[in-house]
Amino acid sequence: MYEFRMPSLGADMEAGTLVEWLIRPGDEVQRGQVVAVVETQKGAVDVEIWEAGTVDKLVVETGRKVPVGELLALLRTAGALAATASETPAAPTTPQAVTAPAIVAASPPRAQAAVVSARQRVAPSARKLAEELGVDIAAVQAAEPGAVISRADVERAAQAKTPTLAAAKVVAPDWHAQMRMAIAAAMSRSKREIPHYYLATDIDVTAVSSWLETENLKRSVTERLLPVVPFMKAVALALREVPELNGFWIDGAARPSAAVHLGMAIAMRGGGLVAPAIHDADRKSLDQLMADLRDLITRVRSGRLRSSEMSDPTVTFTNLGEQGVEGVFGVIYPPQVAIVGLGRISERPWVEGGAVVVRKVATATLAADHRASDGHRGGLFLAALDRLLQQPEKLR
């Protein structure tokens, strides 16, 4: 029997609310399948299971706030014996989800899924308020479609329930402030705990830019690669050469990661950002990286992220060059130990063989945790990045 437990979805997560089960007892599940939706302080997340088998029992009903590590469901794995006869009758017929809050349970499964999959993010303070007021957060609607559910939305829902209570204090919808609070907490921790060091180097990116231009000429508009894609691959490959920049610092020790899961800093429309992982970026083709990036950005802006994307990044890559920024000295997302930045690509005077020529140049930067690595190794990383970018045809 495999015990499926509430995963951690980031360093600061202590608990999540189970919004929806996507499986029932008796269902076959595959490794990596999305089996539940969990509401976290960073929004709703699709939670995957990393074991194959048959669902035996859903232990936790929807609507409950569950601490990280608590048992959610039991799974009969391929090798294990089937459940005892006494357990079987209850299994396929009535999943525990029936005991979910009335409004969720009353809607048909399709509609329910549609409601949840719409961009339903909940501000942490709104969730707290909902708990205090006894409002079912799953039933609260945002003021505008796609907006994050704010305290005001919760208060409106509470007002519908008990008019006198909420009439007293009506706050303007302000999910931006809540998003800022979440970022503030992580970034304050970073600057408090992590001794950052910063490096920058100008890289001649003429070769990779021309290569990409030629490559995109051959492609239809739907198959084109964004300029950032070859850089993602080069960053991932360079990290393999300097592994102490790829991984975590936990409990006073460096924990390098063998896999490179590239956390892509993605701005959310209307403010805030997330940096979910593109798994094994060093081993993917440029086409696969582009497909993954497209999928990721689309879901950041109008869908849901998966639990592994939230928990797995081993390093962060931020590409602020698009906004015209020349260089970005990032703040490390703990417990990671490095953040790589790329500035805008511009034509600059460049000295080559004693002559000044015009080249496409970009400033690459590294902010790294001095507990886990030293400037010398950081410098080797940027040198490796430069070298890899000079041979773009090998980045495929």
Partner: protein, 87 residues
């Protein structure tokens, strides 16, 4: 292939922008100022904008022509011309 007049092209551009940046108010777009200065879109959004135009109008827009789509006016001119040429 369908033929489009300038008004229709403008509407198609607004639809494509609206799908990417729902907060955009077409009436507030200054027609001869850079779209990316007025609307918070990145290279990913811009690529999706091009893909939508490609799907609606049935024309392929090469990367070297992206500069023609920088402002609303230039985009209307460019797309009208390209659609007419495809006739």
């Amino acid at each position: 292939m369908t033929s489009y007049n300038r008004e229709q092209i403008r509407d198609i551009i607004f639809d494509a922008l609206g799908a990417i940046a729902p907060e955009v108010e077409p009436a507030l777009i200054v027609p001869d100022r850079s779209l990316r200065e007025q609307i918070d879109i990145d290279s990913f959004d811009f690529l999706n904008f091009i893909i939508r135009l490609h799907e609606t109008l049935g024309i392929d827009i090469p990367e070297k022509d992206y500069a023609e789509l920088l402002t609303l006016n230039s985009a209307v001119e460019y797309l009208t011309r390209r659609c007419a040429a495809e006739q």
